[in-house]
């Protein structure tokens, strides 16, 4: 396991590269999930406003 993590002495280059790979795509997915929640929330608020106006 230590040998694997050491990457033949190149651990300081190999692991940050893999970390960047995972962090960037995780951020992409998290950003989309957050945007979806925001869009749905705004849409519900809009519907609530409109139905309040129609039935006072």
């Amino acid at each position: 396991m230590d040998k694997f993590l050491a990457m033949g002495g190149y651990a300081v280059y190999v692991w940050p590269a893999y970390a960047a790979f995972f962090v960037v795509f995780a951020a992409d997915l998290i950003a989309t999930a957050a945007r979806r929640r925001r869009v749905l929330k705004e849409l519900r608020a809009r519907i609530a406003r409109q139905s309040a106006r129609r039935s006072p």
Binding site: F4, M7, G8, Y10, Y13, V14, A20, F21, V39
Partner: protein
């Protein structure tokens, strides 16, 4: 020939094209397919990374540092593939004014930018131990950096407009002009004397890489393609809800997905 026979393949294709262009239809379609893309991306990534990090032998020249290849090269391929996809959708959007094509073009831009960014970062981390430099202005690196700026330009132009569809058309136009950079990135290692190494994996002719290293690389390439599907379907669904917020189908989804309480 009987004129009233069952629909031909062409009829079915036309029908499919029109159905796909319909936002509620595509929203549902993307929702059905997305879980399969998620599962396939994760499975192929686990297999590819296991093969690349544990099974493949160390390189005789580069030792274990070469293992960055299993993410660097697939992301580099995807940076070009996603750009071509974006420009293709942009063209369909510009010519036929298909709303969905505009959405797919604009939503693939951030994913392409992510692939390009990861390519540059992992390349830098690979270049330092091998070349002794984090960065060099060689043709391959510079043209890939230009690719990142093109993606950022497309994203920026899209958001600069008040009207989403007008912004999408302007950005699609920029994306189409930027297509000239794709062959420059691809052939940079051939046309110029670059520090970056030449092509290792070739579609035609023998690849200059052993099978135990090649199959994890190709598996990761498949995985990154599938990731584009995963991310793009999710993004397109949100963009459709955003754009079609006034329509009944979007409202029905907003109310159905309402959190309890």
């Amino acid at each position: 020939m009987n004129a009233h026979s069952s629909p031909t393949l062409w009829n079915r294709l036309v029908l499919w094209y029109h159905q796909m262009g319909s936002p509620p239809y595509f929203y549902a379609f993307a929702g059905r397919w997305r879980p399969w893309f998620i599962a396939a991306t994760l499975i192929t990534a686990v297999i590819g990374l296991y093969g690349g990090l544990l099974l493949a032998p160390a390189d005789y020249q580069q030792g274990d540092a070469y293992r960055i290849i299993f993410i660097h090269v697939p992301c580099a391929w995807m940076s070009l593939f996603t750009y071509a996809f974006m420009a293709g959708c942009g063209l369909v959007g510009l010519v036929w004014r298909v709303k969905l094509a505009e959405i797919l073009a604009m939503e693939s831009a951030p994913i392409g930018a992510a692939f390009t960014f990861v390519t540059l970062v992992t390349g830098s981390l690979w270049g330092k131990p091998m070349w002794g430099a984090w960065w060099t202005w060689d043709a391959r690196l510079t043209s890939e950096l230009v690719l990142l700026f093109l993606y950022l330009g497309v994203i920026g132009l899209y958001h600069a407009f008040e009207d989403t569809r007008q912004g999408a058309r302007a950005a699609a136009f920029l994306a189409l002009i930027g297509v000239v950079n794709l062959p420059i990135v691809h052939y940079s290692v051939v046309w110029w004397n670059t520090l970056h190494q030449g092509t290792t994996v070739r579609l035609f002719g023998p690849s200059r890489i052993t099978w135990s290293m090649l199959w994890p690389l190709l598996t990761m390439a498949l995985s990154t393609h599938l990731y584009l599907g995963w991310s793009l379907l999710g993004r397109a669904r949100v963009a459709l809800l955003e754009l079609e917020g006034g329509k009944d189908w979007a409202r029905a989804i907003a109310l159905k997905d309402a959190p309890h309480g």
